[in-house]
Amino acid sequence: MRAEARNATPKMLVLKFCAALAATLCLGLVSASQACDLRTLPGGHALAKPGAAMQLAYASQPPKVESDKMFSVVIHLCSRQAIERITVDAHMPEHRHGMNYKPTIVQNPDGSYHATGFLFHMPGKWEFVFEVRAGGKVERFSHAVMVE
């Protein structure tokens, strides 16, 4: 049920390198919070952790998640270190089950990530879980949404 992006192909390596380079350059010029500014991600949710070396913002597409309808997620990451791997999953904590679908995640040319293949098959509380590995460390972000 977990979508995962990692350095799999030479093309992806190049893309990731460019993205990492761009992100590094970007981070050299602006603070992390500015890089993850929600203005660059309309309708998004910023998941910042105090003291974390990384910030994550995500937005679902379409912005309102409805049960029984497929949707995708755009993820923006700001990290002082190159991203080695990112995974995303979702589950219903109260029901103790996940999705019936396994999203796939790819990196966009602008360095953001696009995960497709989400479907929340029940109304209620769902929780997105993002795990990002950078500099040998894994940072975990989660965010709950209520789905009608």
């Binding site: 029984d68 497929m70 109260e94």
Partner: protein, 405 residues
């Protein structure tokens, strides 16, 4: 005395509204209950085209499909038609526990009414389009025992079918490979089944009244059904899976129905369905999908085979449920009262340990059970159970006039 009168007033305020004699009444639904109720409509939902089927909602194709649907020649013995297990008087089911084609099968024949609104087709979701699902029973040796070659041959050699094929698809059967012609035939069958849409029910009339704030009209909905509806969206949590206008989340669940079909033999349900649909050459990701973007293939691309899928079955729509007995994938429950009892006295030991944690015995009282049945009965329309004006019957009855070349 004043205190006593005040106490009486408080007690009266806490009592649910009752009908006085035959006077109708409306329960005091909370805002949350109203939201939950309104989420079950409006009906019908938009009749979206099936992008994977070039003749989706095409009347000529639907007329061809209707003819094929009733044609026993689409079988090895010339006697088994789609209608053999999907009979109009049985709301396009067959009222048997499990169906019989050329031989007995293991599953109940589901009603085809509103089938166009599904994402997955069949109890195990082994097909991802209505047209692909229409091919499946044709070639199943226990159902029609037919072949795609013979199907194409029939379309090519029967003057009436051949004429209709040309009108629907704009080409002659002989101009395409037999497999493509057979898939086209299945797409025509799908176009016919798309016309099977149920009309609004007493529940829909109530829901509309609630939506426009018409308490007087809403009060015409029987109180027992109102109480059952309250249980459905409240204590029963039935709307967790039976969501939306279709009363189904179009996915799968394990509700503790045994899946042994013979000693030592099980029906794997969704677990087998996922394996089948992902390998199916006629699935949405394949070359027979008429949509070059394959947008509707997302579900098939991303569906995840998990151990919990073993013994999971499609969450059926509850529309027309009172008229589509028997129930469950194996037809093991004969009445709605038995279905309600199943959930009321649920055997949790039969559920997967790693499955949903939302099912528990509802422990409904006799009155609550009866009310829930009354509500479920209000989800059925009268008559044929379909909107007759959508059927292509008149066109199907006309003799086909060949198109001038």
């Amino acid at each position: 005395m004043r205190r006593f009168a005040a106490a009486l007033l408080v007690v009266a305020a806490c009592l649910p509204p009752k009908s006085i004699g035959n006077e109708p009444a409306l329960l005091d639904f909370t805002p949350a209950e109203r939201r939950a109720i309104l989420a079950h409509g409006p009906w019908p939902p938009p009749l979206d085209l099936d992008a994977s089927n070039r003749v989706s909602d095409n009347r000529e194709a639907a007329a061809l499909g209707q003819r094929l649907f009733f044609d026993g020649r689409l079988s090895a013995n010339g006697k088994v038609a789609c209608v053999s297990c999907h009979m109009p008087p049985a709301l396009f089911g067959d009222r048997r526990k499990t169906s019989v084609g050329l031989a007995a099968v293991d599953r109940n024949s589901p009603s085809l009414i509103n089938v166009r609104f599904q994402r997955w087709f069949g109890w195990d979701g082994g097909s991802d389009s209505l047209w692909a699902h229409s091919l499946r029973p044709l070639t199943d040796p226990r159902e029609h025992g037919y072949t795609l070659e013979r199907f194409a041959q029939l379309l090519a050699t029967d003057a009436e079918l051949s004429c209709r094929y040309q009108k629907a698809f704009g080409r002659k059967v002989g101009d395409v490979a037999s497999e493509i012609a057979a898939v086209d035939g299945a797409k025509a069958l799908a176009a016919f089944q798309e016309t099977l849409v149920s009309p609004p029910t007493p529940f829909d009339i109530f829901r509309e009244a609630l939506a426009r704030g018409d308490a007087a009209a809403g009060a015409n909905y029987p109180l027992a059904a109102q109480r059952g509806l309250r249980t459905f969206v409240g204590k029963g949590n039935c709307n967790t899976c039976h969501v939306g206008a279709l009363f189904s989340n179009r996915e799968f669940g394990d509700i503790g129905i045994p899946f042994f079909i013979a000693p030592g033999k099980v029906d794997p349900g969704r677990h087998g369905g996922i394996q089948r649909v992902t390998k199916d050459p006629f699935n949405q990701l394949g070359g027979y999908n008429d949509d070059p973007t394959k947008a509707d293939g997302k579900a098939t691309r991303h569906v995840d085979l998990q151990q919990k899928n073993f013994g999971e079955w499609k969450v059926p729509s509850l529309r027309n449920v009172a008229r589509s007995a028997p129930y469950m994938h194996n037809g093991s429950l004969a009445t709605l009262a038995e279905v309600v009892r199943h959930y009321s006295e649920l055997d949790e030991d039969r559920l997967h340990a790693d499955g949903e944690k939302i099912l528990r015995p509802l422990k409904l009282s006799t009155g609550e059970s009866a009310d829930l049945v009354a509500f479920l009965e209000s989800l059925s329309a009268s008559g044929l159970g379909v909107m007759v004006d959508k059927l292509p019957t008149a066109l199907a009855r006309q003799r086909c006039t060949p198109t001038a070349n």
